[in-house]
């Protein structure tokens, strides 16, 4: 039971990380109609900048503004210099241009920081474990990630449902033309949404730093998983992204944790491990396949 709860929390931690990325990605697509492959690069840049500052100053806290600022500024620069010219282009051009950005960012990071992964220690205040239930110890830092993720989700909910900007965002993600017709400074809105998405990606990257190795290529790996989230949740839907992130995080974690054990009861150890690893790494994609069979537009797609 405690093991199960622990895995559930692990799944949630992965889930909120995915959500931080997926929220931005799905909004950027929903509102601007742009597919942005470089979103993963911004995650990586947030991780590198934050981790580097944290490692040199020795303060985990100082890393936060560094990571967020680097990510947001990169996001604004990307929007201003590249993505802005792609709004009216077809998806192929968007894919190729942002693919080019990935190559540029990956190589630039390699040139600046080298090929060795960066590591940062946990902040002292968050390094221990807490006993959530009798016998269930869970790392405080991972709990903090979950808390931050849920807070961001709540904040986004309020922003989207309770503010004027949110109203525009909602309108924009279902009917792009309408927002244009409203006479809003659409450019500013676009830049703001892009910057917000980048900020969240940077936050996710920095928070993942102490758990994963900060290295080149980290962005693309999670980006593709994020795509799966967006497809399952329904393109343009932040709510869909939230539920799909948690669903995916928990499914992925559970499969990796339990499948080899289950298989070992019916076949030999090493083979079971290999097969289990294979199937569980495919798990989220199979989940996507099932969702596509039932609801091709995703679980929370709009009525369009």
């Amino acid at each position: 039971m405690t093991l199960f709860l622990e895995q559930l929390l692990n799944g949630m931690q992965l889930g909120v990380t995915l959500f931080l990325l997926a929220a931005g990605l799905t909004l950027i697509f929903g509102i601007m109609g742009v597919i942005n492959l470089a979103h993963g690069s911004i995650y990586m840049i947030g991780a590198y900048a934050g981790t580097y500052v944290a490692a040199t100053t020795g303060s985990f806290l100082l890393g936060i503004p560094a990571g967020l600022a680097a990510a947001a500024l990169t996001g604004i620069a990307v929007e201003f210099l590249v993505v802005r010219q792609l709004y009216d282009r077809d998806h192929l051009d968007q894919v190729l241009a942002t693919f080019g950005l990935i190559l540029i960012f990956n190589q630039a990071i390699t040139m600046i920081f080298g090929r060795q992964p960066l590591f940062v220690g946990l902040p002292d205040a968050l390094s221990g474990s807490v006993e959530l239930l009798p016998g269930l110890f869970y790392p405080l830092y991972r709990l903090a990630i979950i808390a931050v993720g849920l807070l961001v989700a709540a904040g986004l909910y309020l922003l989207i449902n309770r503010t004027r900007v949110g109203m525009l965002v909602r309108a924009g993600s279902t009917n792009r033309e309408m927002v244009r017709a409203l006479g809003v400074d659409i450019r500013l809105l676009y830049t703001a949404v892009f910057a917000l998405g980048a900020l969240l990606a940077g936050l996710a990257g920095y928070m993942a730093g102490p758990i994963l190795a900060v290295q080149v290529g980290m962005g693309e790996q999670i980006l593709i998983t994020t795509f799966v989230v967006v497809v399952i949740g329904g393109v343009g839907s932040v709510k869909g992204a939230f539920y799909a992130s948690l669903l995916l995080g928990v499914t992925d974690t559970a499969l990796r944790a339990y499948l080899p054990g289950l298989l070992r009861q019916v076949m030999v150890g090493p083979e079971a491990d290999a097969l289990g690893a294979g199937i569980s790494s495919m798990g989220i994609y199979l989940l996507m396949a099932i969702v596509l069979l039932i609801r091709p537009k995703g679980l929370f797609a709009g009525n369009t």
Binding site: I35, H91, I224, M282, K297
Partner: protein
């Protein structure tokens, strides 16, 4: 609308040059060029296959490396079972006969394309891009975890497949094999593009709505095109496995899908020869940049970015704009 005689002439000249290429390379004291040309031909087949759905059909697939990789792995896996003398699944014997392995590679990648296409084509637009990418990545992870077939490290194919008395390790022989297949493949594509099926496919790219209003059920035509395209990539993958005598999950990594796309756009989307030009340009660019700096990907990224932002329609369009004749 008659094809001008000059077109046939230039095609004939091109073919003569291609046939003479290994000899010319030897004369120029640069025999390795034959290998480079072989690589260009193989990637050209893959890029032309991708272009069939992307350029002619308007379906932006970001997962075509999957079929390239599957084609390669069919050759690799059959070879492993052949060399170990263990039948696959205890039933099918392995093989090292090119006339067995390559058609099988084409069929298996076609079947996989049917599966992935049937699911991905239930949506369109940006979802299609993400889904094809995701499924390709799924296969990548699958092959990474298949330790029986080398996992991360891939499979070494100690000896290339056999085809009659030909020695496929011999550079010119392999080159001529690939040239023959590439030319036949291109001829086949040319026929399909101009056929009734091609007419429908190109119509779908221009306006799906119009085609529906004319009474077309788009799904099955798109799926058929996707399968044909997957088979072409599988063919290229099988050739690549024989050429490199090695397969690995890297063949289906998402960056490979991206590279195939770059080749297509370099050469010009929706043209028959474009992908081969693009494959050539990409491989040249890669080796030039790599020789110049180890950070060649940075250069490639910038070139790609500039190409997309400031030209429209790839190198062909760029050239025709630079050397514009009176239109």
């Amino acid at each position: 609308m008659r094809t001008p005689i000059t077109t046939y002439l230039s095609l004939a000249v091109l073919l003569v040059l291609l046939v003479a290429l290994p000899t010319l390379a030897d004369l120029a004291n640069y025999p390795a060029f034959t290998s480079v040309a072989t690589r260009v031909l193989i990637y050209g087949i893959a890029a032309a296959s991708l272009n069939f759905v992307l350029g002619f059909g308007g379906m932006v697939s970001f997962g075509h490396a999957a079929f390239f990789g599957i084609g390669g792995y069919v050759v690799g896996i059959l070879y492993q079972h052949y060399s170990l003398g263990e039948p696959l699944f205890g039933v099918f014997p392995g093989s090292n006969q090119l006339l067995v392995t390559v058609p099988l590679a084409v069929l298996v990648s076609g079947a996989m394309a049917a599966l992935i296409g049937a699911l991905s084509l239930r949506t369109g637009g940006v979802q299609f891009i993400m889904i094809t990418l995701a499924f390709a990545q799924m296969l990548f992870f699958l092959f990474v975890s298949l330790k029986t077939y080398g996992g991360d490290d891939g499979l070494i194919i100690r000896r290339a497949n056999e085809l009659g008395g030909l020695n496929l390790r011999d550079r010119p022989t392999m080159y001529y094999l690939c040239l023959t297949i590439a030319v036949s493949f291109l001829f086949l594509l040319w026929r399909i593009v101009n056929s009734r099926f091609g007419n429908v496919l190109i119509g779908l790219r221009q306006s799906e709505r119009r085609m529906a209003a004319l009474g077309l059920s788009a799904y099955r035509y798109k799926l058929a095109a996707f399968v044909i395209s997957g088979m072409g990539c599988g063919l290229a993958g099988a050739l690549m496995a024989n050429f490199m005598r090695y397969v690995s999950p890297d063949m289906m990594h998402w960056t490979k899908s991206g590279e195939l796309m770059v080749m297509v756009i370099l050469g010009g989307v929706g043209t028959l020869f474009g992908p081969f030009i693009g494959a050539g340009a990409f491989i040249m660019l890669e080796s030039l940049l790599a020789a110049w700096t180890e950070n060649w990907q940075l250069g490639l990224g910038f070139i790609l970015l500039l190409l997309v932002l400031y030209t429209n329609g790839g190198l062909q369009a760029l050239f025709s704009r630079l050397f514009r004749r009176d239109a």
